[in-house]
């Protein structure tokens, strides 16, 4: 059974966007991150509720431009690991 990912408990994120540029400020770490669109969608989806990689992938595709290349589940898995290193996300079992 696929494991859920979630936003790190207690996270407080503040967003700001200019067109296709998305910034998020993580109050837990004090760090500001510049994210590509798909990463922004993934983090915002996780902020809404814990999800598996498959669910996250589906959520991203749902709002993506169908004519553009879409991210793979492998990319998404790597992204979540990067979020984990930044203290933004974690596996639900953690």
């Amino acid at each position: 059974m696929e494991t859920n990912w979630r936003l790190t408990p207690g996270s407080k994120l503040t967003w700001h966007s200019w067109g296709s540029e998305h910034l998020v400020f993580n109050e837990n770490s004090g760090a500001t991150h510049l994210l590509p669109l798909e990463a922004t969608k993934a983090l915002q989806s996780l902020a809404a509720e814990p999800q598996t990689i498959t669910q996250l992938h589906d959520a991203i595709l749902e709002t993506s431009d169908k004519s553009m290349p879409h991210p793979s589940t492998e990319w998404l898995e790597e992204l979540l690991k990067q979020f984990q290193q930044l203290g933004l996300s974690q596996l639900v079992s953690e």
Binding site: T14, H16, W18, E21, L23, G30, L34
Partner: protein
């Protein structure tokens, strides 16, 4: 009363007793020294700054003096004191003037947390400010010195103070530090500029300080709204060129260049993002100051 109204002897007397209190932007700085080089340097570079009463509250208590041991006479050294404590190793005594400037920058950047403090030059014209963050060697100070003698007002060459509530840039008109070849460049480009004697063999090379224009000092109570964030870079032989710069990347760079971004947390983030909503951002490469002045004169504030 301005410092220029005080004689050398009267200035030295204050500096060696209770301290000379100078208004430097939003701060009052009390300075004590027995060093003739610093006394003369202050008289030259801070001539237009306002003197405050001896008993007035001072935000910073700065001292620059020789130690009371052999190094007072043998290869003489000099210490920077903040609240009577020496936070740095001693410097060669001939570096008293640049040491005072570096030390005061340090004091402000480490303590004035009522502002978001960015390591950047900031200048103003017609109420609109340009913030210029840049690493050492990028030509920031040379560009700043050239512009403030050509229609722009100096708010600061080193420390951009952003008010957390209004988002305005707060003036801190103090001497502009010029290094190595930049000194001669400014001597020729702005012959009206007043420069201190050159101090050689500092950790930044040969340095001279440029007196802030009197008009900039007089308008020290007039903040300005940032309208542009420009990342300057001197490139030998390059044409003066403005290239649009991503606002998000500018925000990251400003945070990285801020001394106290982490202290302000989300308030610092909101301040920068709200400010950038109303700014245009550019990279600026240049090699010729006249061309740079021309390009800057054509800047149109964002709608």
């Amino acid at each position: 009363m301005k410092l220029s109204n005080l004689s050398y002897d009267a200035t030295a007397s204050k500096l060696t007793t209770d301290g000379l209190r100078l208004r430097t932007g939003p701060f009052i700085t009390s300075i004590r020294t027995h060093t003739p080089e610093l006394t003369a340097g202050l008289q030259l570079l801070y001539a237009d700054h306002i003197l405050k009463e001896d008993a007035e509250f001072a935000d910073f208590h700065i001292g620059v003096d020789r130690p009371r041991n052999l190094r007072r006479w043998l290869h003489p050294q000099i210490f920077f004191y903040f609240d009577e404590v020496a936070p740095f190793n001693p410097f060669p005594s001939e570096q008293a003037l640049p040491l005072f400037e570096w030390g005061l920058n340090w004091a402000i950047s480490q303590h004035a947390h009522q502002y978001l403090i960015i390591h950047a030059a900031v200048i103003e014209k017609d109420g609109h400010a340009v913030i210029m963050p840049a690493p050492p060697g990028s030509g920031k100070s040379t560009l700043c010195a050239g512009l403030v003698h050509n229609g722009w007002r100096l708010l600061s060459d080193e420390l951009t103070l952003l008010d957390l509530h209004s988002g305005q840039a707060i003036p801190l008109a103090r001497p502009v530090g010029l290094k190595n070849d930049s000194v001669e460049v400014i001597r020729h480009f702005a012959p009206q500029a007043t420069l201190s004697p050159m101090t050689v063999d500092t950790h930044k090379g040969a340095v001279a300080l440029m007196k802030p224009p009197a008009d900039s000092v007089e308008k020290s109570d007039q903040p300005a709204h940032p309208a542009w964030v420009i990342f300057p870079k001197y490139i030998a032989g390059a044409a003066a060129t403005l290239t649009p710069h991503s606002k998000a990347e500018a925000c990251i760079a400003l945070g990285d260049n801020a001394f106290n971004y982490s202290i302000h947390g989300v308030n610092g983030f909101n301040l920068l993002t709200n400010m950038l909503d109303h700014c245009d951002c550019y990279d600026f490469s240049y090699s010729n100051l006249s061309d740079a002045v021309s390009i800057f004169s054509q800047l149109e504030p964002p709608a």
